[in-house]
């Protein structure tokens, strides 16, 4: 009979757990750092505003508008020249007294709904907005059907009669002692 070391001795186990925790901690730290880094990645451009409200509107706008050159960045983060041009344009429009709605319409008229990180709900974007929810609901429904069907199946399956039970034992060959012997070998 061989001796199998199922688990390492207690000391090694504690050490393994500690180093795993450290690894997890380091990983979490790295992730947080990366995320925090992205948050301050906005291009630094000093801009003067007449009011705090204007500045707030500007920041919201350039975060919600997509840079079409580097398509995974918003205008705030992108270093592309077009992004700089559009930021300046947004700034000028705010200073000019244009409303958020007007600025957004201006951008969408020229570049389409794709320029918005949150496209407006229109006939063309309904599929985009509702799609995930519909798919999710569809998935849940399928899941419910599967579980329901399985529980139905379990309920209607009948217990074996005593006669059938003894037949089963015969078919499996031998009585209980045989199987127990196999386990302790």
């Amino acid at each position: 009979m061989e001796r199998r070391a199922a688990t390492p001795d207690p000391a090694r186990r504690v050490q393994a757990r500690l180093s795993r925790r450290r690894a997890a901690g380091l990983f979490l730290g790295a992730v947080l750092l990366a995320v925090a880094g992205a948050a301050v990645a906005a291009v630094f451009e000093p801009r003067e505003f007449a009011s705090a409200e204007q500045e707030r509107r500007y920041k919201v706008l350039i975060n919600e508008l997509r840079c079409l050159v580097c398509q995974n960045q918003n205008l705030a983060d992108s270093n592309a020249e077009l992004a700089a041009d559009l930021r300046t344009l947004a700034y000028e429009m705010i200073k000019n007294g244009d409303s958020d709605e007007q600025i957004i319409t201006f951008m969408v008229d020229r570049y389409g709904e794709f320029v918005l990180y949150r496209p407006r709900l229109k006939a063309s974007t309904v599929a985009l907005w509702l799609g995930p929810f519909l798919l999710g609901a569809g998935g849940i429904w399928l899941l419910w059907r599967m579980i329901h069907r399985r529980s139905l199946l379990a309920r209607t399956t009948q217990e074996l009669s005593d006669d059938e039970k003894s037949r089963l034992k015969d078919l499996l060959g031998g009585d209980e002692t045989d199987t127990e012997r196999g386990r302790n070998a």
Partner: protein, 183 residues
């Protein structure tokens, strides 16, 4: 389990899988860089810029009302524009289309040198030094080419350089169709 029931059980997940494969397969063929223009079918937006060669002359959307024409956005700092240029020169020489240019965020002296050295296929080239006219046209990269009909409406926008194949097989036939429609 009887065969039919087994098939039935796998039908739904397989059906969903098939749908996803089709959807994602189509998605793989699409290029997100080619942002469709919301201006297709609409009149060419207003713009007013000086010309490249003569700062006193103006170039505006009105000038593109004389039959079907191309508006090609270009720049000397743009490498694909350099590759596209001979194709445009060929189109003009063969008389297949009228081409207007819009020089985008460039330097006037460089633009003039470029046209003198490489050939000038443009009936007129606008000088959009700050890119504002480009923004009004929905330009987000160079080169881009608009096809405008005699009414002044944009019928097509081509993103990226035009190569001979695209010209012969896609754009030239489109122009012919548009021309024949207007009679």
């Amino acid at each position: 389990m009887p065969k039919v029931e087994a098939l039935h059980r796998y039908a739904t997940p397989f059906g969903v899988f098939l749908l996803l494969v089709i959807l994602l397969g189509v998605g793989l063929t699409l290029d997100p860089r080619r942002v469709p223009s919301p201006l297709i079918g609409k009149p060419l937006p207003e713009f007013d810029v000086p010309t490249v060669r003569d700062p006193q002359r103006r170039f505006s959307q009105d000038q593109l009302r004389d039959g079907v024409s191309l508006l090609n956005v270009w720049a000397t700092w743009c490498v694909p524009c350099r590759e596209e240029h001979p194709v445009l020169v060929g189109i003009e020489q063969r008389g297949e289309a009228v081409i207007f240019g819009l020089n985008y965020k460039d330097r006037r002296d460089k633009a003039i040198t470029w046209l003198n050295q490489l050939g000038d296929p443009y009936r007129m080239s606008g000088f959009d030094v700050d890119g504002r006219a480009g923004i009004d046209l929905g330009v987000y990269g160079v080169p881009e080419t608009f096809i405008i009909d005699a009414k002044g409406d944009i019928v097509h926008k081509h993103i990226g350089p035009i190569d001979e194949k695209t010209w012969k097989e896609e754009l030239l036939p489109l122009i012919r169709r548009v021309e024949s429609r207007r009679g």
